[in-house]
Symmetry: C4
Subunit: 220 residues, 4 copies
């Protein structure tokens, strides 16, 4: 009894706090491990110029590193947004979050895959796998958001329906767009990376602003 009276709300906050901290840890580690895919050119011939050539030839590594880094960063921001509205968790929410984190840890693998195969045979498959994991991640986000809003009791009080509907719409558009990016691999692998790049650029410059707008005016 004392436990409930004394720490009822505190427990809930602590719960979300540890899940956020754990998730942040996984995001931070996954995003930092991306750089491990940048390989040092070994036994280069031709001295200084040889090293320049070897480094320049690794351009698929840099391209895939930047694309994945920025995409994971945006996803972390999204994750952050979801948790801003949530004050409690349940089984469905925890499972969706676990599914999401599992997929995020796979991104360094798919990044290494396109980094290796982008300029050789296998590029189509590599890019389709790369895009496919983002499709799964967008599904995981929708499951997470659905678990959060389905039963309004997980949300903080006072979140207006309008804001929820807006975020529901925003999360839904990720799925078809990443599906398009995946399908585009079969036309040209660069289309996949181009669409993924366009997506993080778009979200980087819009999402945050929407959040800010939402807070003072929409909730006012």
């Amino acid at each position: 009894m004392a436990l409930v009276d004394h720490t009822g709300m505190k427990d809930e906050e602590k719960d979300t706090g540890r899940i956020e901290a754990f998730s942040d840890g996984v995001f931070a580690i996954a995003i930092t491990l991306l750089a491990l895919e940048l390989k040092i050119p070994h036994s280069v011939e031709g001295g200084e110029e040889g090293l320049v050539r070897a480094l320049v030839n690794q351009w698929p590594s840099y391209l895939s590193f930047i694309t994945s880094f920025c995409t994971i960063l945006i996803m972390w921001g999204n994750h952050h947004e979801v948790f801003r509205f949530v004050r409690r968790t349940n089984t469905g929410f925890m499972l969706a979050n676990g599914f999401l984190l599992m997929l995020v840890t796979v991104v360094p693998f798919t990044t290494a895959l396109i980094s290796d195969y982008l300029n050789k045979a296998g590029a189509v498959v590599a890019c389709a796998v790369y895009g496919g994991v983002f499709v799964l991640i967008s599904i995981a986000y929708n499951l997470l958001w659905y678990a959060a809003v389905k039963d309004r009791s997980l949300l903080r009080s006072g979140v207006p329906e309008q804001t929820i509907r807006k975020f529901t719409r925003n999360y839904r558009i990720g799925f078809p767009l990443y599906l398009l990016a995946t399908a585009a691999a079969f036309v040209s692998p660069f289309y996949t990376i181009g669409i993924c790049t366009a997506l993080w650029v778009f979200w980087a410059f819009t999402m945050r602003r929407e959040g800010s707008e939402a807070t003072p005016s929409k909730l006012g």
Copy 2:
């Protein structure tokens, strides 16, 4: 004296806080390092189809990755549950927690082992080692829980005996089940993975609900 008066309880909370944060860090890193075991197929022949075949042939990697990821996630949840009841630590509790963390960091190694040996000679030994580490982890959990409840002074006030007995029962069943999973390797390596999968699925869908039940009704 001032230290005790001024920060007595705060110190205790901070103590648990840093141990939780450190443990969360270890769990988060171990779970993310699992994905490093997913290897990029190198020097694949046969172009796009060759890469598809090479990726598909790595199915033991994916299977062991998913099994280990979900199991560590459940274990993290368990760890979280234990700490919800604890407000102080002592030597025994710290040692049990250290033993647990050491074993958790070993899981990426045993995962890589089954990932390498699942479809070749050595699968029995690899799966027995994999299951064996989970047996040790279940022992570590029982030691941790025993250290927490043996001397009731480590617990928050107001935790009913009924709840403690319930959790004691729950932690005890892990040991024989993982022992079974380990022994099953000598029948078929897939039995080990099958039992481990069944366990995390079962716990994912039940544990949390029990926790929720416990909080409002059992403690009410």
Copy 3:
């Protein structure tokens, strides 16, 4: 409405809190991964003395490890300083922070590069790349600081103009000095490392003191 009234300021603090925690995670992981570049000498001949020689021959690894470790640590301290003044974020600030973190995760790669090439052909290019990333990082810091102070609404109240101008000056000098370190590679690769070392030593012994001075007297 309740959300704004109830958690208005708390939300803001939490916002910065999670960004700091995430950034700290990336800094901590990047700084720890540096040590992965220290390689074990394999198949050494000549017994005990052979191992001593092999370890001594790896001196470029140790030199680059120490330089990079200390530089990242100073950068983390800088990051910390910026966030001491900030209580809210906006798009520009988030993008600058993301750009900064991306570059920080690249430092283990450039460190491995100079570690491999410092005593062979390629040293000039390796050191120029190493210095070049620090040039980009100093740009990222200036962008971050500019985003923070441009619109004074991101800052905590009561930060005097004088302090802001002082920090603006401090962040600006990093750029030309790292540019010099990069250019110096073309004279001698050791100049790059020497200048980078001089910089972290200088900042380690001055920056903190300035911060302390600033707090009681300048803001008093």
Copy 4:
């Protein structure tokens, strides 16, 4: 002015908080990376028995992993103890902490070194290097503690002189003992590991109790 009045003490706490969190991150990552040194035996002959033999032959890996894991865990506990007494930082304290963290990240490297060389020529040098890093770490702890207590203004109020002297004595004994462990390598490499093991076992079972004693009775 508002900044000082409003957040004077809070800033200080936040300062220590981020340094603790960053340090915890480095400790957690370093301790988890130790397990990366456990290698999967590749291309083993002799089927199941061959894998058993190959795994058993890796016993130096397991021994060095356990020794290093437990030693880092004890060091983390020590670090924690120091910060319990500290409420502010200065340049010297930050530098000592940075030096300590740098050495902690090196432990996975020295662990891999003894893991590779323990049962072949090179064991003496490997163990001397392994012990030598712990000697440096014990120096770092003494510097950290000295920086903390030299100027009593870094400490929380109300810490009795008696407690400070006790901790000063405790930190001092690490240095000669690790020096002994290092020198012992030249007699037998196993002496180094034996002494290191004896040390963490001793500290695990005593340190914490002393802390507990200190809190209620010594400070009462």
